[in-house]
Symmetry: none
Subunit: 200 residues, 4 copies
């Protein structure tokens, strides 16, 4: 008997997380309305509180889910090769996920780029693995003589995440870079910068 019910419950929880992501992405933590979220999920206001203790708890669950997704993607990239290609692969993997969960991706980007201090710390903490992977790509690239060594790896990894998210946001808002070229453009701009004929 609980089987069908448990599935329905889980589906509702999912709907709330999705609707919440949408709302928090669009209006931020303070601007999102519980009413709007529950209605968008096709549920009554009170149902939110059957699944989450409070607006804050819902927000944090969404944030953690977004971070976990970023973390999970980090392991699906080549273990070796040129840093630029590995970073492009990283972006491609995450984009794939982000295009399936655009709202979650926007929450992640929003709070990473402009959350208040506590939220930003939460995002960085929950994305530690992901940041570590990017940092190690940068470190290995530097050790191989491919990349500059004058910048610390971890802040640079964080910077890469921001860079990627900014470009994703720009792509979404202005059409540039076009979606299919995003991974290549992100990695290329980050690694090669703007110099013409960079290596030739």
């Amino acid at each position: 008997m609980p089987r069908v019910t448990a599935q329905a419950r889980e589906a509702n929880r999912r709907a709330l997380l999705d609707a919440g992501a949408e709302a928090f992405a669009a209006h931020g933590h303070a601007g999102a309305r519980i009413d709007e979220i529950s209605l968008a999920a096709g549920l009554a206001k009170g149902t939110v509180y059957n699944h989450f203790d409070s607006k804050d708890a819902l927000f944090e669950a969404i944030l953690r889910e977004a971070c976990a997704a970023a973390d999970a993607g980090a392991d699906r990239i080549p273990a070796s090769g040129p840093a630029e290609a590995r970073l492009a692969a990283f972006v491609a993997v995450n984009l794939e996920w982000a295009s399936e969960h655009p709202a979650l991706a926007r929450v992640f980007a929003r709070e990473l780029l402009a959350g208040d201090d506590a939220t930003r710390a939460l995002v960085l903490g929950a994305s530690a693995h992901c940041i570590g992977v990017v940092a190690s790509i940068l470190e290995e690239g530097a050790r191989a003589g491919e990349l500059r060594r004058d910048v610390p790896f971890e802040p640079l990894a964080v910077n890469f995440l921001c860079h990627a998210n900014v470009l994703v946001g720009q792509s979404w808002a202005s059409g540039w870079p076009p979606r299919p070229e995003l991974p290549g453009t992100v990695a290329s701009l980050f690694v090669r910068g703007l110099l013409s004929s960079p290596a030739s």
Copy 2:
């Protein structure tokens, strides 16, 4: 007699703009509280409404001021020279102002990076001149063969502003890049990317 009064009035308006910038920077538009702002300005809540029609009007005034400052800085940079140096100069000029008005700078960055669509459009519109200057630097660099030509100038200029603001935020939060090196690092990363000493 009206002189002193007018001055006092102006001082109060300034205090409100400053305190408002602080609050909007820290908590975003929806999260900032009029009470907090007026108290931080050393004034009573009602006084806000002697100077601004509404919370929104205060927010917009702050936003416009921030954009205007960015715009004004755009004209104090060398009219010619290598793109990287001109971009570094741009960052340096804006940093100078930003370090005197850190809150305003953070509002600008926050809304540029993660404002809702309407606010973001407002910021971009009000920063049009500034964006145009950066775009023309990029365009001239490309025409001179110094920079890549495969990216459209205006979105790239917006991206540069974001890039710069992200690094300023990181500097503020994590200590890297160190303040004095910010302009050089911003421009270097943006123009040269991460490749190891490409030609030098």
Copy 3:
């Protein structure tokens, strides 16, 4: 087959009455939570509504049960003898029951002492027989010259019930009077007051 089921049903009803008494005793009518009651009874929230029409109906059932118990006890006391002894017997009989159903007893006391007007009227009405018995003890004691005649019997009987319940509550909360001495102390204080060597 219906036998076991009917027994189980009855057991659940009992569990709900007991858990409800506990909750109403601890938090009063408005403060008790249906959730808390059903969980304490080891049942699901919805089951409450298979047994009672509403929270109010459950409350009233508990109240009536408590009053009925008080009423029933009233008939198990000596039909004659000194008023003090008969009152002590009354308390002893009720205490026996109360120590087996402490929560019910507390609901009775609580609503008698501080219920809102409607509830208090309900309690008094449902305890009419019990109050009548006490009143008749007092009346007979007065007619026998044992007790004062300057106080009306029925309000005094109500007062006695309150007096007894207060002392039971104090015993429970502070340890005085000790449980075994309760009937004697209650009756003695009520009948003899505090005068030293009362009769000598």
Copy 4:
């Protein structure tokens, strides 16, 4: 300028305390409604929160005020004399106050007689002085040979407060004892009990 305003503010605070006492007296802590209180005070709902942090804070303020009043009355009674007379004086003093602040008095009685454990502890703690005064009357009466010595003074003092409050409540609800005779009846019943004219 603040003079008139401060007075008005204080008057509003008073109105809220009074209306709150009324509501808490009638419905208990959980049953009282903030809306009802603010409306009864002739104010808007939000105003409650300009004066008190929360419903709980308002409740506690009222409770403390009631306890303080009980405490204050305790010092206006004869320092010596027969215990019965002193107790009657105690009741008379408190009745005088209670008839001017009936709601406060009812809150005190209600929570003393049937509050949950935490609230009851608060009431007893905040009434410590008052209880001490009654206890010392009882102790001195016992030392003078006037009163029984077989009961501990402090629990008995608490019992006296309950006794008095119960009779006040009865007087209010049923008309007996009549208001003017209350102090005498309370003290007489408590000290002499029900024995018929024991010595006279």
